[in-house]
Symmetry: C2
Subunit: 187 residues, 2 copies
């Protein structure tokens, strides 16, 4: 079918940059965990993004997981540039300074990561930002009664590249590091 | 809650490396699209992986999307090293040479990408491999009657990091690049 970036599932996050007073909030799907040593994300940002400018200036960013209640606001934050609009204000997003970084957290998201940039690699029209996770914050109502992350309550959006759809996370299929164990006996 | 890589949703793919005869097939969740110019993935692989050795030797890999029918096989391919087992054989995966690369496609997956490596960046115990997408292949039964990708038929697995769960993709929430448009009027 020819080369294509129609890939899925991808996450849907809001990247917070700058400060609460002078913020940018950008919707990003092209990102992943990149290493555990130290815990870090790799985040692809278009070269022209104002958020990239702010990331370069401060060396900080936050990664926030919106749910379906924020899907219009999230989409909006991917449609426009922070150069042309005060996105958080227009979208009605409430920002709060991170605990370990000055970059703003999106308080409407139940689960957020605070990051400090450790490297940046140029990739065509994009820059791949490597950001060390220095803190995570979860709302009380994002946790189980045992204090564990409750994915049903966080209800993060799934982005389907190529199809341009936001979806929900579906039913559990199996436990990782477990369901494949019986095959070990066949080696 | 402290630094953590408990992030979701993530994709679940099988990375095919080497050749059909001398293959490695590895389960990976830490990957994303990284740029559109040229279309490329960023894939994090642990330094010690045999697949990384094969990628360095051939400069090629494939990215294959398994569905729930292959969840045990996929999990198994993440549990063991290709150094210690002929994983494709043990898991009963049928491999076929790619159209534009020598690296093996996993034929049980309905949607696959063929890639040529363009860069590699060291990241702690991981290497971040940048791989240009040179071809995609979708099974007939992965398409709608109009020849478009049908995500319901491909039914890719979603990986939930930290929770160590494979899940399905859920219901559609909204159209991207669309649901946020009404907010443009508020600028």
């Amino acid at each position: 079918m020819g080369p294509s970036t129609a890939f899925f599932p991808l996450p849907t996050v809001l990247i917070g940059t700058g400060t609460v007073e002078e913020s940018d909030v950008t919707a990003v799907a092209w990102m992943t965990v990149a290493t555990a040593t130290p815990p870090s994300f790799a985040i692809a940002l278009r070269d022209s993004r104002r958020s990239l400018e702010q990331i370069r200036a401060t060396g900080e960013l936050t990664v926030n997981l919106p749910n379906r209640d924020l899907v219009a606001e999230t989409d909006y934050c991917g449609l426009v540039s922070g150069r042309n609009a005060e996105k958080a204000k227009v979208a009605g997003l409430v920002l709060e300074q991170g605990a370990k970084v000055t970059a703003p957290i999106v308080t409407g998201c139940k689960y957020s990561f605070e990051c400090k940039v450790t490297a940046e690699y140029p990739l065509g029209e994009y820059a791949l930002v490597i950001a060390e996770i220095v803190e995570t914050q979860a709302d009380e109502d994002a946790l189980t009664e045992h204090g564990q992350l409750d994915i049903g309550k966080i209800a993060p959006l799934v982005y389907c590249g190529g199809l341009r759809e936001y979806r929900e996370i579906g039913q559990k299929v199996a436990d990782a590091y477990k369901v494949g164990r019986p095959l070990l006996a066949d080696e």
